[in-house]
Symmetry: C2
Subunit: 345 residues, 2 copies
Amino acid sequence: MSTYSEIFQQPDCLRRLFTEQRKEVEKTAAEIRRRSVNFVFLAARGTSDNAGRYANYLLGGKNGLPVALATPSLFTYYQTPPILKNALVIGISQSGQSPDIVSVIEEGRRQNCLTLAITNEPESPLACKADLVLPLLTGPELAVAATKTYTAELMVLAMLSAALAGDSPGMASLEKIPERVSDMLKIDDMIQDAVKRYRYMEQTVVLGRGFNYATAYEWALKMKEMTYISAEPYSSADFMHGPIAIVHGGFPVMAVAPEGRVFDSMMDILIRIKTDLNGELMVISNRREALDMAITPVELPDELPEWLSPIAAIVPAQLFAYHLSCIKGHDPDRPRIIHKVTETK
Amino acid sequence: MSTYSEIFQQPDCLRRLFTEQRKEVEKTAAEIRRRSVNFVFLAARGTSDNAGRYANYLLGGKNGLPVALATPSLFTYYQTPPILKNALVIGISQSGQSPDIVSVIEEGRRQNCLTLAITNEPESPLACKADLVLPLLTGPELAVAATKTYTAELMVLAMLSAALAGDSPGMASLEKIPERVSDMLKIDDMIQDAVKRYRYMEQTVVLGRGFNYATAYEWALKMKEMTYISAEPYSSADFMHGPIAIVHGGFPVMAVAPEGRVFDSMMDILIRIKTDLNGELMVISNRREALDMAITPVELPDELPEWLSPIAAIVPAQLFAYHLSCIKGHDPDRPRIIHKVTETK
């Protein structure tokens, strides 16, 4: 039951993180502002890499910071790391153990960059090597499929972004997020019922764009980890450039399309999939037009700023992957093959 | 027949590109060296985005330049582009038409960055907006699935990297690449025979790492465009962090594993897939140990430097996607749904 109970711990985890870490985040932001940072160089794997995808839009769009997602093998196997002049080097890892992520932080320090570790284990190798550490404070995550550390990673990144921008209204919006996550957990029964339709689904694609590009990736990853189906994530724009050819009558497409700047572009692709190609949609949204397109609509709260929507939007997706795993006869707490800590070089 | 004939035009295209563009590439490199460039900000979609993945390892590993892959929606829908100070802004697009890629170049100019367009259409909007243009010179690409422009994009990026590094032996290796591509085309009959086994394959994953991370993505994309199967690309390290759960007895996995720095890490995953999980492998490699693991081995030339191996390694993958499309009863020249030029915002 660890996966299920950790999904339900999320409102408490996020509340604690916001309350107890706010000062630390402000201090971290002040430290970053003191340095001449031109761009962010970010290393992560798996679920944490999806938090990195969120950071890409968040730090790029809210803080003017371009984000380069690291290619760790240049640091490990090739031993030809790039020159990180004027970079803020960030490593994100639940366990703080993966040698390749640690090696990016080490190289950042060697090159005199400011380095920041975001991890649930403040005594881990990653945390010990970094100049600055933002712990996730979720308590031990026992489930193989990460859930509460993912939303905590998004939360701490959003707090850091708001602190860097001196955005007090943003901080106020953030404070309400644990409540929004709580709202989402109330639809657990509905999701448990909805998965029945997908009992024999073997293949799907998951679409999102902008801030929710990360949500599409993380939703797909949870399905892959817990249900072993083929679930490929795409930005709706990349999907149009070729992979859309996969859609045929009845093909199931999942989409995350909350109100916001990219909503119209998501609507365009939903219409194309449903009306032109006869695909079948599951949609997470707070806009009626989008929900009405779906055979499985999942309603998000109305009052959800787009830049924070990924923290709430992933919750029904986690529940969906969990219940789908159960109904398919798998054990979501014991996914085959994978382990909690994966050490890649 | 346009896809097939364009695949076979590749040696001539690459030869022409190397001969006719070498001076232009040297001039472009000199221009870049004159500026204080801290990092590369690169925008592309679809096949060209896979060339961007190659640039990530190439410019990072050979030229010390971190590469940030652009999130174009920050420029279009959100209208909050990041600050591109000290960036070289590169746009890669076969057609040079897609408004989102053009908008990244425009913003780069607005911010006084040096901008470079890599395109097959030197009169296109992308080329007209950029400070520097490197045309691909492949002649018109008529097939919907891009093949010759992809290898030309890799070639011109490799030439640029060698020119930036003043790497004469590298340039000499590059000169031999058209011949290596020609060698690969000789196995066309073998590939045409090999696809029979995959007539009813509906799902696969494609693995690569380092320089050939791009090859895994491009191989998967060609299969998706031409055969409509689910083919998801991964770095072998990311695959270990969760998605490997998808592999079961007989599950088909494609891998690109030429001799080089990441070969041992690729071998580790091939052994895990075949020996521990009973998966079934198709492997493109020039190392006997790797080829011996595969039910469908595809041999690369021996004398292939790792950093240039993606230009040759994609060729059998293109042929595989083409013949698989035919044997499945599709028309690879008329993929359903998609068009040659996709204009995304």
